[in-house]
């Protein structure tokens, strides 16, 4: 197995609020290999965004609390043991993240050029490198690098785009800018949280293709999060299915379509509209468990068609069905 760039072990996260305790993550284990694109799929509230935010260290820490025993190893280093400054240093150039809503995620009062060169500059300062061999000023170099990135993400007329403000661009263009800002810092790991949810289907496909090629070119590892398996399938090598704060299945993309093992994954797949099929869209009956109570037993048991008595009592362990396919279910 190639070098794992990210290893998450027993990640447990709670949110403390006035209404009580909210168990967002309940023992997540996953590995991400270098250069791999991993999809994380699940319904709203399953904890996938919290997973990404914990990795990059941007959880709002008063309400959020990571439970002792959790480990997030990035290139062998436990991120949860780092202090604020050290973590800050990793962000951007080590681990980058792009978010769901590009309009609110971009600063409205600064131009695209300003925000992009900021990313370029941070990368340049950290790597202590000069971008070119000519005698141009740093500012000029940043500007050129920004323009070249905008070209790479397919933005028409990059020079004038630099002067524009976020609200002057379309959703698709804004997301391209976000991607360019993230990749300009040449991160080893990029986290993408529902990057295409706010885009129309055609633009979605374009953005995903673009991201896939750029990321492959850069040799970065990617964790792409979505509630939509179809989106993830377009660019991921492997996918991890999450439910109520735990990972329930972990398999490469082709395998998860051909041989979904966990009842939840099977239900998810049957919800997807099949091309040319006349089958009615089915919904999974019931709703996700309230995360107020500490988890006990298999979280999917209440909705599971195959549930047995033991499911409610014991939490199923992740079993290796094959070297690349794991599932947490008592059926196996």
């Amino acid at each position: 197995m190639s070098e794992a760039i990210l290893r998450i072990r027993n990640l447990r996260l709670v949110f403390e609020s006035m209404q009580g305790r909210f168990h967002a993550l309940n023992g997540v284990n996953l590995d991400l290999a270098a250069g791999e694109v991993l999809g994380v799929v699940g319904e709203s509230g399953c904890g996938k965004s919290s997973l990404a935010l914990s990795t990059i260290g941007l959880l709002p820490t008063p309400p959020a609390k990571l439970i002792k025993g959790s480990e997030i190893l990035f290139k062998g280093q436990n991120l949860l043991a780092l202090n604020d400054t050290e973590m800050e240093r990793l962000r951007g150039t080590g681990i980058a993240m792009i978010f769901q809503e590009p309009l609110t995620s971009l600063n409205p009062i600064f131009t695209i050029g300003d925000q992009l060169s900021e990313a370029v500059r941070i990368a340049a300062i950290r790597q202590n490198s000069s971008l070119g061999t000519s005698k141009k000023s740093a500012k000029e170099e940043y500007r050129e690098e920004s323009i070249s990135w905008l070209k790479k993400v397919g933005l028409p007329d990059p020079e004038s785009a630099l002067q524009r403000y976020p609200h002057e661009l379309s959703g698709g263009m804004r997301q391209r800018v976000m991607i360019s800002m993230a990749l300009a810092e040449k991160p080893a790991l990029m986290l993408a949280d529902e990057p295409t949810s706010f885009l129309d289907v055609t633009t979605q496909a374009q953005i995903l293709r673009l991201t896939a090629s750029l990321v492959h070119e850069a040799g970065a590892s990617v964790m792409i999060i979505s509630h939509d398996l179809a989106v993830v399938a377009q660019i991921a090598d492997r996918v991890v299915v999450m439910y109520a704060g735990v990972v329930v299945e972990d398999a490469p993309i082709p395998e998860i379509y051909e041989k979904p093992l966990h009842p939840y994954t099977q239900a998810l797949l049957s919800c997807l509209p099949k091309q040319g099929g006349k089958k009615r869209l089915e919904m999974i009956p019931g709703s996700p468990p309230s995360l107020r109570k500490a988890p006990q037993g298999c979280p999917y048991a209440p909705r599971c068609a195959f549930a047995k008595d033991v499911c409610v009592r014991e939490t199923p362990e992740m079993k290796e069905i094959s070297p690349v396919h794991r599932v947490a279910c008592v059926l196996y």
Binding site: E88, F99, S105
Partner: protein, 345 residues
């Protein structure tokens, strides 16, 4: 530099606003007209004085076209104002506009100084209250805001005078804008501080600065706390925003995130509110200038009120309204400059 859509939008925005200004001023004059001619039981007495002779009164009736329909009167009223005829003091005959122009610079100077106090103290206090939520800085900000809003301006002014002039002997020897023992510099702009600088007169400058501090603090205190609360709320919103999260994700340092990304956005709303504070301050200046013997419009207004001099009071009201409208326009323009999203609408 490329003149993009956004810049063009800004210019159009400003042009539209300036055109609107004329309309608002017209509305303002309707009100001043109503108060000064219509609401008053006996306008000629009010404008001529109680001891005026019948011929004076007849002349006034002719001049104000008092026997003609209201809209005709209004027309002549507006014409008169535009020509600089704002009436005259019933007892002294001094034209009101002249007095107003005499006292105006002092008020502008004081109001500007008070605004500076609000900005220089209110904004940092607000930022501190946001970054140190529910700690001392936050409590100080809250208490200052409450007392500022609830204080009658004369209490603040008198207290300041008592403590600093009288007990601590910290500040200057007298009221007014400058020590009576010092030769004031030649009146170029009417702004004593500027004139002192222009004349290179350091002694006068020092005295002028010493004299402006207390009334500026008194005037600014009313709004200081409010400003800090506004900045605090704005900062908290900003710090919790998505774009701040993105900046952090990029690896931007905490300091830069707070002061470049959050602060600049947070500043937009409070800054535009400053024009509202100017309106409060103009009201407060009537009391505060009197207590500090500051010879500005507020002082003039207080004297005129005391004498029931309606033309003078109306004149001050009009100029204050014009001031507020102009300052509001400036605030709108500032808003458009600070926030590019506004320009395109």
């Amino acid at each position: 530099m490329v003149v993009n859509e956004s810049h063009k939008g800004l210019i159009i925005f400003i042009a539209k606003r300036v055109a609107l200004l004329a309309l608002v001023l017209l509305g303002v004059s309707v009100i001043t007209f109503t108060v000064s001619r219509v609401a008053v039981p006996d306008p000629t007495r009010a404008w001529a004085g109680p001891r005026a002779s019948q011929s004076t009164i007849d002349a006034l009736i002719a001049k104000f076209h008092l026997h003609e329909p209201i809209y005709v009167q209004f027309y002549y009223y507006v014409v008169g104002i535009l020509h600089g005829d704002w009436g005259s003091d019933p007892s002294t005959g001094q034209p009101v506009l002249e007095s107003i122009l005499l006292y105006l610079p002092a008020t502008i100077e004081l109001t500007t100084a008070a605004l500076l106090v609000v900005i220089a103290v209110g904004i940092p206090l607000g930022v501190a209250a946001a970054t140190h939520r529910n700690k001392l800085q936050d409590h100080v900000s809250r208490v200052t805001a409450l007392t500022g809003v609830a204080s009658p301006p004369f209490v603040v002014a008198l207290l300041l005078q008592l403590v600093f002039f009288y007990y601590l002997h910290v500040f200057p020897d007298s009221g007014g804008r400058i020590s009576p023992l010092i030769q004031a510099p030649a009146r170029v702009t009417g702004f004593l501080i500027l004139d002192s600088i222009l004349a290179g007169n350091l002694v006068a400058l020092t005295s002028a600065l010493q004299h402006i501090i207390m009334p500026a603090i008194a005037l600014g205190f009313l709004n200081l706390g409010l400003m800090s609360r506004l900045v605090r709320a704005s900062m908290l919103d900003s710090l919790a925003s998505d774009y701040v999260r993105t900046a952090k994700a990029k690896g931007v340092t905490k300091l830069v995130v707070t002061y470049k990304h959050a602060f600049r956005n947070a500043l937009i709303q409070p800054v535009t509110v400053l024009s509202v504070y100017v309106a409060y301050m103009l009201g407060g200046s009537v009391v505060i200038e009197s207590i500090f013997d500051w010879p500005g419009l507020g002082y003039f207004a207080a004297q005129s009120i005391f004498n029931f001099d309606l033309p003078a009071v109306m004149g001050v009201t009009l100029i204050f309204a014009i001031g507020v409208v102009v300052v509001n326009l400036a605030a709108d323009i500032l808003y458009a400059i600070l926030d590019p999203r506004i320009r395109l609408g």
